[in-house]
Amino acid sequence: MTRFTLATEPVDVATWRDALKHSGSGGFCSFEGWVRNNNEGRDVSGLAYEAYAELAISEGERVVDEAMARFGVLAAHCVHRVGDLKIGDLAVWIGVSAAHRDEAFRACRYIIDEIKHRLPIWKKEQYINGDTAWVACTHGAHAETDDHPDGHSHESHLHAPSTFTPDYSRQTRLRDVGDTGQAKLAAARVLVIGAGGLGCPVISYLAGAGVGTLGIVDGDVLDASNLHRQVMYDARDIGQRKVDLAARRVAALNPAVTVQTFAEPLRADTIADVFAQFDLVVECTDDLGSRYLANDAAVLTGTPLILASVYQYEGQLQVVSALSGHACLRCLWPVPPSPALAGSCAETGVLGPVPGVLGTMQAMETLKLLLGLPGAGDPSLQLVNLLDGTRQRLPIDAATGCALHGGCMTVAQRALDAAKVDIDQRFDDLVDAVARGFVVVDVRDADEIDASPLPIASLCVPASEIVTYPLDPFHGDMLLVCNSGKRSHHAARRLRQRGVEAYSLVGGLNALRDSAVCA
């Protein structure tokens, strides 16, 4: 059955919708793209779509097939108009029916993103002033119809000398790459989270290889202490935003690459929408919270994720394929350890080449997946020790991980939901918290409690034991308190991952004392 149609006449939505009805369907989702009256500040009066029809149809069919296979939906169809259209006309229609709404939403989103990205369809805009202009509907063009969900990203097409043409001959000569592989790279959209020690080699190699779109996330500015390992930057760059520096570096290295920058860390409420715009994500931060968030979003959106991290002279690498039955980060370590236990480059030190090696390995794993090379997506934990030159590959048994707690999807959804909640609660007096129905849990150690006991009745459970303590007999939301609010925040997060409605007293008892003094 054909699943993609190029239509020269107005689309009869009701007929297409009815054709997707299925007795096993519990959810239907559709997307309509309409002709808008303005683009990039210019008033548009209408437009004409023109397609390379044979290729558009075969690639369109492929996109819809991929969505059906990937998300397990029952029926799907996409219709794209060609010819002259007026303001308000329907330009593209997508319908998906599935057993459950989630697959329908995700498949619908996947199809529109891929259609806009991959199909050889151009539009000629007619402006009010009589001008016309051809606009490619591929690549960066998606910015002009649907705005980015988090509003803090932007695309930059920084132009290098117009005479430059990338020469990929050294890699296309490889039998497993060739022109077909190069086309796959050009069509690929990869998100790199963190433009630091790991991110520098990842971004450089992927840009050099001709990956079509690179998203770069980093909220930091360059510091002098970064330069020993972050080899894309130099001393003149100190104080500038890394996303801007990285975008400039990519533009200089390979102007054929489109860069999209995100100057704030990704947040739990928008990360899945960002991931849905990319084919693959590489996590390169030094932040365990970011790594777990990326893991959860990757699992939920079905986006492959390449994780790596370093410690002094060694590193770890894990590919999360996000395929059912394959292990994720939480299959190995279900909850992040407290930041104090995991260590960061700032606290424990690192030698520059260590993230260089691990980031290079991440770039390699990325290219293997994008090109479908042998060994791609191996779901093992790789340990690399650069002092003694040893390397271990430890296969991960997915059956003993999240599978014991409802599966990666369930675990990831629970964690992402928990991360969306603002768990920090502000009180001037713990009596108010009790009046609001909170069960107060003092997570300080026994000697701290002895030195300064709480003025109200509370449970006393040290933070290190909170996860194993039987809290079931206590009903109501838990308010965890410690001296500064740090231990209680981390403990509340861990409890939430176990389904407990836990909150943390922001600023801890120190803040309570301060407010009492002020009063």
Binding site: G196, Q316, L332, G343, C345, P355, Q392, D397, T400
Partner: protein, 80 residues
């Protein structure tokens, strides 16, 4: 008594002061072994923050320690 090889990564390597050592132990399970090593090296990480692998396979903390095993303790690390 079992003679085993233990390998450490990241913080554990630092706290143990070595990446590999051979020891004789009477520990019955991996959990007992880790408790014993905590006493010897002052490890600060609890077992629920660690993975353990035996002979290049991830393993359960309840697994018995056998003569000749190569045991690896792996914490998650954060640097980037």
């Amino acid at each position: 008594m079992s003679r085993i090889t233990v390998q450490y990564y990241a913080q554990l390597r630092e706290q143990a002061g070595a990446s590999i050592e051979q020891i004789d132990t009477a520990a019955a399970t991996l959990r007992d072994l880790y408790d014993e090593l905590c006493g010897r090296h002052g490890f600060t990480l609890p077992t629920d923050a660690l993975k353990v692998a035996v002979n290049v396979r991830f393993s359960d903390w309840g697994r018995a320690v056998d003569d000749g095993d190569t045991i690896v303790f792996i914490p998650p690390v954060a640097g980037g």
